[in-house]
Symmetry: C2
């Protein structure tokens, strides 16, 4: 079993890191995250050991996840490329989000904190936080965007199964929530939910936040995915030529692709990240200093962004609805190591349905873009080893596919 | 990997088999099932080899499934018993039903059939049939009880993801369906759906049925579960003292427990099957010849039954809503090898919620009865190895838990 993370920060020079994080105030981190997490957020050590109780938790929630050779998909595409799918959908909670939620909960508990407070949109981050909290006997409050609270009932019930208290945001529990409500804000947004969470955490001593994406340490905790892939490929004496995954803010893609980029430097020909053409952050955004939040209130990072005030259109792959991309992923895109492909929802979802019928996998709408990219790649090249990530299970997102069935 | 099934019929004497199946006409089987399946339905050979393409399919859908030590549950129950959970919920389709659907689809395809036609209630059997059919490039029509067709939309979508045509039963497509509709039957039932399926199959040459439970061969195909458990326990040098699972018609329980009963004859102290106290087939039913269907039209088997005309009350664990229990399981209950425990829904669901919070598993309502039995057993004994089966994933059944959250 993999017993250390690759610190994604160690892949960049000190100068580059200084440039990217020029406007970041680490004191903000200290107020909301456990001290060890803040340490990892600043570290440039190459490896970070995974403590053994955490290894047990990783095992419990379903690691190591399968690396599935998609024989039937290969046959259906009449390709002689080999397609390998890293199956993060097989985790208990249904997505990769638990990889980074667990260590945050673990360190919080170790440091004597008693409660997780976190925000969630469609619910994947909230589900992971709720599971991580219950496995470390922490209380958990999840502020869930009110619109999703109504529409994504099963994800809400899942958080409640894990013992979390799920609150529709804006709520009556915080000053900011009350203020939003008084302005007639009924649907909520991830930015509003974040404001409520921050207010709660900053007014307490023993609460902390579980971050779901974007930040370096979230990518680092997700490198367990890519490190497992290396081991799994090694055991089959296979090396990857092409690496593919989808990017929302980039934490699953970073955790998956960066260890591969690092390990197979001279071998890999193409590293492709996919995104939605309705939210073309990496293909059409600017590489600039911008806010991670939607209000322009937090820190600014050097990253690709459509502008913090960009309002992502509604779409089924809600995990891709974000205006910017992780600074580390942005760096590698800017540098040319990672290429970007944007696709339309309709073709992506159709490719996921094709996958279901070939491989028996019901995947999340986010990963449908990845499957579509695999299909496109197979039209272009031969005899390659293609390794791609399925970031989540789509059983609770089946409605997304209904109009295409 | 396990490469053969244990034929559950070989565990009974020829005399006993003759007695149980006195009124069964094998010609009925021949009309609806592939020839190899009918052969297995009559065989008394101890082992049946699993053909290698089928082994590949088993691997593809997630076998071998984990045998998870429930450390946190043990701690929460303050017990020194060891609890092991066989995780059939981890399969791609979300339940054990695929174990028997795959071989039926495989043999059907091999014998030149082109289409599966099957009935389903809440959808688990239909989902498994749809997946098995698509993995062997067969068409698939599923007659789904009209009431579930409306209420269980996600399971219906899942079947459609796998390419199946899902038809609300009673339907306009069959004579019997039309006749039921004309009588004002709007909700449907599994018996009505079965009538439609039989009509369709008997009027064609290349269609066949995928049976979901009850029949000997369905139990036999599920023995891969118990055989895996033996291997998994062996590798930890552990032998089971107590074996627990839930019984609807008994196919998962048979496939899980019978290989263990056979292999650990002198070791196992108790084999417990759980059922709902609202449908107390094994605890209060009669051991008699009765019809497997709800209309009194098919074959009669010697088994425990509440009477074929018994109408199971509505309940969340729809997989347990059946008036009878598999003849083989009934035999071992009658003989005293298997004991029966009936529990109420409320306590069972509460135990499943406890499991979610301890082990991070969202299980099907059917298996909640098993978890409740584990809790009860832990109040009674010490230092035992308890091995239990989780038959399915509960993500699409989360509504069942909502009133208890």
């Amino acid at each position: 079993m993999i017993d250390r993370w690759l610190n994604v920060r160690s892949l960049l020079s000190e100068e580059k890191l200084a440039q990217i994080y020029k406007y970041v105030d680490i004191d903000t981190y200290k107020k909301v995250h456990p001290a060890t997490v803040v340490e990892h957020a600043q570290s440039t050590e190459r490896w970070i050991n995974i403590p053994s109780p955490l290894l047990e938790s990783y095992k419990m929630i379903g690691r190591l996840t399968p690396l599935q050779r998609a024989y039937r998909l290969e046959k259906a595409l009449s390709t002689n490329n080999k397609i390998f799918l890293k199956r993060e959908d097989a985790l208990s909670n249904g997505s990769f989000k638990i990889n980074s939620a667990l260590p945050q909960a673990y360190y919080g508990k170790l440091e004597g904190k008693s409660k997780v407070i976190t925000e969630t949109g469609a619910g994947q981050t909230g589900v992971a936080a709720a599971l991580a909290a219950c496995l470390y006997d922490l209380e958990c409050d999840v502020y869930m965007v009110r619109n999703s609270f109504k529409l994504k009932k099963l994800r809400r019930l899942m958080m409640e199964m894990y013992g979390a208290k799920v609150i529709a945001s804006p709520s009556e529990f915080t000053k900011s929530g009350k203020s939003f409500l008084s302005k007639g804000e009924v649907n909520g947004s991830i930015a509003l939910a974040t404001s409520e969470v921050m207010e709660e955490i900053l007014s307490s001593n023993d609460c902390f936040n579980i971050a779901g994406s974007l930040l370096d340490f979230v990518l680092t905790y997700n490198t367990i995915i890519g490190l497992e892939v290396i081991k799994q490929l090694d055991s089959q004496h296979i090396e990857p030529d092409i690496v593919i995954g989808c990017v929302g803010a980039g934490s699953s893609f970073g955790g998956f692709s960066l260890p591969l980029i690092d390990h197979y430097k001279d071998r890999i020909e193409r590293v492709i990240c996919t995104e939605s053409s309705s939210i073309p952050t990496l293909s059409k955004g600017k590489y600039c200093y911008d806010y991670a939040d939607g209000e322009g209130e937090g820190d600014r990072y050097l990253m690709y962004s459509l502008g913090y005030s960009f309002t992502p259109p509604p779409m089924h792959a809600s995990g891709l609805r974000y205006h910017a991309a992780s600074p580390i992923i942005s760096h590698f895109v800017n540098q040319g190591t990672i290429e970007v492909q944007a696709y339309e929802e309709t073709s992506a979802l159709a490719s996921a349905i094709e996958l279901a019928r070939e491989e028996g996998l019901i995947i999340s709408p986010e990963s449908s873009y990845t499957i579509h990219a695999i299909k496109k790649i197979c039209e272009q090249c031969n005899n390659k080893n293609i390794v791609a990530i399925v970031t989540g299970n789509g059983q609770l997102d089946l409605e997304s596919y209904s109009e295409h069935l």
